[in-house]
Structure formats: C-alpha cells, structure tokens
Symmetry: C2
DNA sequence: GACTGGCACTCGCTACAGTCGAGTGCCAGG
DNA sequence: CCTGGCACTCGACTGTAGCGAGTGCCAGTC
C-alpha cells in the first residue's frame, strides 16, 4: 500500500492536531506545527495518497483533512506510544481510591475517577459473578415462610434474594439448611454450582427435601441464571464537551445505548485477558455508537480478571492518553481488590 | 390582580398549546383551536395583561407568547385537573412491576417504567435507611481478623461492610457477637440505634470488648453516618427530545446535576407525606436546573413513606399527565412493598 | 524520481439587502 | 367591554457577493 515513513508521520500529525483542535487540518498548518522538513505541496501529495487509501477524508472540498475510523485505527496500532501518566495523575488515582470501604465504594470511586481523568464517559463492570466463587451463603428468616438468601462472593459482591417456602420451617431446620448449603457450595466457582445444588436436593432428608427444593431453584437463579452483571456509569456530562460537533449533533443514540446494560457489557465486558481493547467508530457492533470509540480493559486481583472497565467518547479522542489512564486505573483497582 | 375567568382560560390554552406544539402561540391560533368565544383582538388584550403580570412572555417582538415559570405555576395550581390514567397505562404499570424478585429489581423496573410512561428522566430513591428498621444483622467470618457485616432492613435494603478486627476472634465469639447485636438492635429504627450500639459496648464482657468496640464503629457508620442513600436513574435519552429547544441548547448543566446524588436527593427525597410536589424552573435551588421542572412524590408500604420518586424534564412538560403517572406509579410501588 | 513554488479553482462562511408573514398594539366604532 | 381594521415590528428566509482556507496540478529544480 506504499505508505512510507513520512506519510505515516503526516497521518500522525493530522490525528494529533485534529484531536487537539477539533478542526480539519490543512497542509500549511501541518508543516508549521510539525517538523516534517518538507513543503506544504509535498504534504498535499501525501495527503492525497492517504485519502485514496481511506485513512483521511475531506468534510468539504475546500476544507482540511480529518482522520477516518481507519485512520485512527492505524494511528492506534502503529503510530502512537502509550503516554506515561503524569505524577499528578498517579497521585490522583491513589488519593481517589484510598479509603474505599466496600465493593460498592470501590466501584463508584473508580468510575468517577476514570470519568474525571479522561474527561469521557466512564464505565465499570462490577466483578462478574460468573468469575466469582462462593464465600458464604447466609439464610435469614424473615417470617416463618420466608427466608432471605444472602450470597457473599469472594470478589466482594453480595447478592440477596427472597425465598418463599412451601411451608413453615422451624429455626433449627434453617440452621441445618445453612450448614448443608455452605458445606456443599462454599468455595465453589459460581459456574460450577448447578450439579452441586442438584446434589444438595438429592442428598437431603425427606423432611427437608421440599424446602431444599424450593431453595435450590432460587439458588440457581441467584447464582447462575439471573447472574446479574452490574454496571456503574459516570461522566455523561462529558459527552457535551466539544459542542455538538462530535456525535454529529445528536447525543440521543449515545444516551440510549448507555442505558442498555447489555450494550455496555458487550463493550467492556468481553475483554481478553490483560489486553487493552480499542473499538473505533463503526468497529463496534451497535449502530447507535458508530460515532463513538471505546477503550476498555479487564481488571482483577493479581493476574485473574473479574470484570471490565473503560471509557467511551467521540472517535476524536486522545487515544494514547486514555489507554494509559484506563490501564493504570485497572491496575490500581486490581491491587486494591487483591488486598481484600 | 384582576385575572378574570377568561384570562385564566387564555393562559390555560396557551400552556396547553405550547406544551404540545413547542412553538410560541399567537392570538389567532388560540381562538381557532379553543372555543374562547371572543375575537383574536380581545385575546390580545388579555395576553397583554397576562404578560404584564408575568405569566407569559414574548421571545421576540413579532412572535407568539410563551408561558413563564410563574405561568406554569398558576396553571399547575389552579388550572389543571390531574388527568386520569388511560387503561393502557394502568396495564403497563401492572405488567411492568409484576414479577419483581427483590428490591433492586423493583427499583430498576420502576425507574424504567416511569421513564417510559412520562418520556422524561425518571429518578427513584431506594427506601431510605433513615426510615428503615433493622430486621437482622449478620456477621460472616471472612478470615480470622475480618468479618463481613450484613444488615438487612425491613424495607428490603441490604447493606454490607467489611470489619477489620483488632485481633483474631474465634468462631464461637462471632456467634456470641451475632446474638448480642441482634438482641439489641433487631427491630430498632436505624435512627434510634446509636445509644443502643453504645450500650452494646458498655455491656459486653471484658473479653469481647475490643472486638465489640471495633464492630460498633462500623455499625454506626453503616447504620447512621454513612447512611447511604441510593438512587436509580433512567431515561436520560429523553432529554434530547424536542431538539435543542428545551434547556436553551445545552444539556450539559442538566447532565451534571443528574450525576450528583446529593442534588437528586434534594429534588425527590424531601417530600412531605403523601403530597405530590412540583418544582418549576427556577423554583428549585440548583442553578443547573433552572430550565427544568421536577414532579415528585413519596412512596412506601401503606401510608408510611420510605423514599421518593419522580421525573425531571423541561419546564415545557405535560404537568397533569406527569403528575398522574408519578402518583399512580408511587401507589403501585407502595402496594408492592406492602406485600413483602 | 522526489520535492517545490506557483497558480487557478472550489466552496463553505459571513455579511448584507430585500421580501414575507406572523403577530402585535392601538384606536375608533358598535 | 368587545371587535374589526390598520400600521408596525421583527425574525425567518432567500439571494448575492466577497473572502479566504485549502486544494490539485503543473512546470521547474535538485
């Protein structure tokens, strides 16, 4: 495809200028602001080639050039180094995350931090239940025919569900149930629990069986089927930066997409181990987000990954900076989780 | 102030037309669409008076009239009847809320329902801890020096916190602690707990005292001080309806306000018993929301109120409709909570 | 063959003038 | 007190013209 070093440098310069000024960049401005060592005319020739190859385009005939999604992709893959964080940013991360008292707190602080540092919309997935193990199951009698099932996962997540019992169950039986359930399930990965739950029913005494059966369905629902992923969001106000230029004038589709947990999960939840993923413009599968880019990564204690986090913004975003920030925050959160 | 019936009818007509068409309304259009029984010229005279009194204004000299915040206020207080809900809406409410399995589920469904029915931004406050009583406290050993404290409130809310212990505590002691704590606190309103917690420390054996002291601080934090209010939000995409006319062109301040839990709580959380509150434009205390109106009410099982819910939208909103919907949804949610 | 300076051209943006029409305020008459 | 009529205002829209940023191309130079 014949892109020599200088053409790549031109592309890089176009991306950088456009990201920072938000205006189409012309050949003259380019040579003035970057040391390309050639004249505007030469740059124009290079730009013609870049345009032919689909890396940049002209909004109007007599305007400067703007990177295409493909151009950003090339930039991210080959032309940018991850920016090291400034000491101020490192300090901000630590200051923000120190003192979190529980998982909710950690997630909320993280999502706000990300939004603030990147000035984009931030998304943080709670540690996925599918990747958690059962730490403890608690049964709390609410009335004679109602139990509250509380599941505490090793990732810190706590899920509760109400269990309607087929008939009144004495307190001693509840104690038995609690013991049985914990003996069988504590320590198991949530994804491995279905056969164990079945075994619980099979092995229980005739007396407890009806209650255990009822309990088991709720257990399965809580642990596996309804396996609720939770999501925290912050910084939507950042979408309005850059006037109405980004997102071709309408925030509507973006806001709609952000309300769909399913969409967000697809965007940030499916990260391969320890990779930072960048989705640019129409690379992502949702029509509503064709004008947006997403930078996401997985996080978790140590090397394991329990959830995803990331930021969403206009395709015209500071990729190197955002990638660096997302990675750094994910690492800090991982360390925080490892301590607990 | 000399507003006779016809002038009020004119104001009502202006509000209704403006809300539905979103365009300044002129005298001619008014007499055509409403049976006022007088000529445009007469209506113009009335409008001149209404303008003098501050109920309507002209965006430009040669344009129609638009209601002011004060005009909406008069409309809401004296000129509108609450619209009865359509059967379709009633059905939608029931269909939406039936089958909720826990509090989170109820709140999420409610907020989505509200957003969908009113086509505005919906806000639902979780049942306030301050208005809840302790149903049960659970202590779950995480390691020898760490406990997970889980508090289950009668409103269905479940809060958890990690407790760092000053020294290892054997399992039997945890059982004792659990019993002591529950004996003392179960059934108490959260706001009444501080002296009880103090009593727990004072009465505990020398052996348990250090642990109990540590536990008590976390208890107080969880139950009272950090008494976290939680909020669910939906329908932000509705802010983009009506182009950029509403909110004078910028969603920014609105989105910023919606990210502040404190702001939302002030808006919907401070409702006097069983009243529906309407805040119009600059009646609310936040500068960011001067272009917005809020309709909110309290909800709870039976006659008690445990939290607030409401909608937020442009001052140009369908007040009668939204008031009716907010009330109806609050009533349904109250019934749902009463069942549990 | 690669780069450069020069030049004609395109086209969006802004300013300005002119027209149109919705809507008003006022007034005289019923 | 209401009404029809009338002059007036002023925003919205249209068309024209000039400006200027930016381009593509070409002939000339190293």
């Amino acid at each position: 495809m014949g892109l020599d070093d200088r053409k790549l440098a031109v592309l890089r310069a176009i991306v950088e200028d456009y990201v920072s000024t938000q205006e189409p960049v012309g050949s003259k401005a380019l040579v003035e602001r970057h040391q390309l060592g050639v004249s505007p005319a030469t740059v124009r020739n290079d730009m013609a080639v870049l345009e032919e190859e689909g890396y940049i385009r002209q909004p109007h005939t007599s305007a400067g050039r703007v990177p295409t999604d493909r151009g950003y992709r090339l930039f991210v893959d080959r032309l940018s180094r991850v920016k090291p964080l400034s000491p101020a940013e490192r300090r901000a991360i630590e200051r923000f995350l120190v003192g979190a008292v529980d998982l909710d707190d950690v997630v909320h602080r993280t999502v706000r931090l990300l939004a603030q540092l990147t000035r984009q919309v931030a998304v943080v997935q709670y540690p996925s239940l599918a990747r958690s193990s059962v730490r403890h199951l608690e049964l709390v009698p609410i009335s004679t025919t109602r139990l509250m099932l509380v599941m505490i996962a090793d990732t810190g997540r706590v899920e509760q569900r109400l269990v309607e019992l087929p008939r009144p169950v004495p307190a001693d039986d509840v104690t038995d149930l609690r013991r049985l359930v914990n003996e069988k399930l504590a320590g198991a990965r949530l994804s491995d629990t279905p056969p164990l739950v079945q075994a619980l029913v099979d092995e229980s005494s005739a007396e407890l069986r009806p209650t255990m059966t009822m309990l088991s369905t709720v257990l399965l629902e809580t642990l596996v089927e309804r396996s609720e992923e939770r999501i925290a969001l912050a910084g939507t106000a950042n979408l309005t930066r850059g006037g109405l230029l980004d997102f071709q004038g309408s925030l509507r589709p973006i806001l709609e997409a952000l309300e769909e947990e399913v969409v967000l999960l697809k965007l940030i939840g499916e990260t391969e181990p320890s990779t930072t993923r960048v989705l640019i413009g129409d690379e992502n599968e949702f029509d509503n987000l064709r004008a947006a880019s997403v930078v996401s990564t997985g996080y978790g204690p140590g090397a394991t990954i329990v959830g995803g986090l990331g930021v969403l913004g206009p395709t015209r975003m500071d990729y190197p900076g955002n990638i660096a920030t997302v990675r750094a925050v994910a690492r800090y959160v991982g360390e925080l989780l490892a301590q607990n």
